[in-house]
Symmetry: C2
Subunit: 381 residues, 2 copies
């Protein structure tokens, strides 16, 4: 039996919550968890250089299988020596399965047991993605952590539909496992679905855990449900997952949701939020969101966040960044993107320390208070 | 009498041409000449950080008075502590006078002896720029080198018009000199105009040199005339300028034109060309222009320029940069911009060495040959 490509080592459980401190060992380095992963959709974290990601403390980034399959094509990436070499990133890479994009971006999709027929959002070309194809694309990309091909139905889809979908996702996971070409150097995760239903999450987890994946993702959240609903689902889902494997909550990146996810035992997160909102000048700061484009910052010569020591905050003012973004200068969104990613990576560093110190709930309380975040709010940043 | 803010030190003349090696001493450092200046129109060299400009060997950058006057406004920049502090750039800054943009970008202009009435290209607002106003804006920006307010008529405008324009530009230069508030810390250059007419260039140079500026710009070139015509004008214009002052050829940035300008005694150049062409994937290389977006580079895993040791060429391939630019990823134009600016800065470094070695003509010949540049070509890159 081959050694799995991805291993999880549990270092410590927090005393008062489900939070855990650990590390994930990958072919491209070991990183501490809980961890946030910046998103580099098209083999680039928008506007940033690999050295900058490294410098801000990113240890693993996410790239999108669907996008890279369409452009430049996984064969080209393979010919380049894999995604790490193509984009000159020496640390970890996680790829998704393409499933989420097929369901959210592509047009005219037709779901069959075999896979999904759909039209490219770029060219309109007819395409087909199956569990096997999704795995083989990821094999060609050479990511450290791969995702099984799954269906991610809307949270409020009918119980019957979600049940059928969960069962098909399990069959697809099994097919993906069998199609996987490089289990020795790429770890394939199963994705637990089941919407808001406890029994369906149990069904999904039981079936996937039975296949013994090296890690488990929690899918189907952050798709329209409330913050409270998401936390509720996590409350009964993470305990279904084995303690000796990493747990990844897909597509979640608001500061409060990260902390609440960690409290419920999640180890990994990703989201486009920090870079997406940066592009219109919205910045995450220790005292809440700051829309630097607003007129009130025109003459404000303080850094984005006075408590932040990132490159942006050490060197540039709100007034300058506002000017750049108002004037459509790329360097403005580059500075805001750097800051937002740093903010979340640094938050996770503080969260790990709080787990170590067994005071995560106190940390959450003071963070939320300073952030101006009301626990009853929706989780929209 | 105050010490001038800008001084030129002639180090050596090349034996076989008019080229000269020197250095310019500014309040923000001393830099060797001949030198190319990257353009940061709106207080940012598009997509690049100050540290990157420093690392690639840029010692002085150009910023545009017209753009900064309109947005964010020179008073805001002054309040920030000046342009250096606003954009966190510790080395030299040169600002133009706004004249060129008023004549090229603005609408419905009306030129009077007092100044120019026109409409903002951004808001349509009615504005007025005079020699005094152009100087006071630059005083507020706090650049190291400032430009007199001039008119830059089309190269093929009538002799009579250009003659009247030259005389008015001289009167404007005198008014600017008198309006200048900080001669001790900002050096104001006069701009020699006169189109393609030797006697008008002589007239312009004589009048301006009589006002004893700390440096002289050559304007009205690179505005539609041929390469041969530009060189011809330089042939009779640079000898009209004092040897102990720097000479700046405005708006010229193609590799061949830089070399030909140096041969005729020019010390400083600026142009948006390297960053502008980078944005559509056109790269300057030692073997000529390379349009990296072209399909032929899809599987090309070599650097942009195999002889280049810049950050881009040390770390990324043509295939990757092509992918980024095709996919509208900002990091692609960032990499191409870095490379193009490095290419010109490095070219000037080699040119300075060739002046030192008295073999500039041999250098030109071998550069042009490798570059695939036919001396009879138009100077369009």
């Amino acid at each position: 039996m081959t050694e799995p490509a991805i291993k999880y080592r549990l270092i410590k459980k927090e005393k008062h919550t489900g939070a855990r401190l650990g590390e994930i060992i990958t072919p491209h380095g070991t990183f501490p968890t809980p961890m946030f992963m910046p998103v580099g959709t098209q083999a680039s974290v928008k506007s940033l250089a690999p050295e900058e990601l490294d410098e801000m403390g990113a240890n693993i980034i996410l790239s999108n299988t669907y996008h890279l399959w369409l452009r430049p094509g996984e064969k080209l990436v393979e010919e380049a020596g894999g995604l790490h070499q193509f984009m000159n990133w020496k640390k970890g890479i996680l790829t998704d399965s393409g499933g989420f994009q097929v369901f959210s971006l592509a047009k005219m999709r037709d779901i069959t047991e075999q896979g999904v027929h759909f039209k490219s959002h770029l060219s309109g070309e007819k395409l087909f993605l199956s569990p096997e194809k999704a795995i083989h694309i990821q094999n060609a990309l050479g990511s450290d952590i791969m995702m099984s091909f799954d269906e991610c139905p809307p949270f409020f889809e009918s119980y019957d539909y979600i049940k059928k979908s969960v069962e098909r996702t399990s069959r697809w996971a099994q097919r993906g496992l069998e199609a996987h070409l490089h289990a020795d150097r790429q770890g394939l995760f199963g994705i637990v679905q089941g919407g808001g239903h406890k029994d369906l999450r149990e069904l999904s987890a039981r079936q996937l855990v039975g296949m013994d994946f090296p890690g488990y993702s929690i899918g189907g959240l952050s798709v329209g449900e409330s913050k409270a609903e998401m936390n509720h689902v996590l409350d009964f889902t993470t305990p279904l997952l084995p303690e000796n494997k990493p747990r990844y909550l897909m597509g979640v990146g608001s500061a409060d949701a990260l902390i609440d996810g960690v409290i419920r035992g999640v180890d990994m997160f990703d989201c486009v939020l920090p870079t997406r909102i940066a592009r219109n000048g919205t910045c995450m700061t220790s005292s809440g969101r700051l829309v630097v484009k607003n007129a009130v910052y025109a003459h404000d010569f303080r850094p984005l966040d006075e408590k932040c020591d990132c490159y942006t905050c050490r060197n540039f003012t709100r007034a300058y960044i506002r000017h750049l973004i108002k004037a459509d200068e790329i360097f403005g969104l580059r500075l805001a993107s750097y800051h937002n990613l740093y903010f979340l990576l640094n938050l996770m560093k503080n969260v790990r320390q709080a787990i170590m110190d067994d005071n995560l709930l106190e940390f959450k309380e003071s963070f939320f208070e300073e952030y101006g975040f009301n626990a009853k709010d929706a989780r929209n940043f």
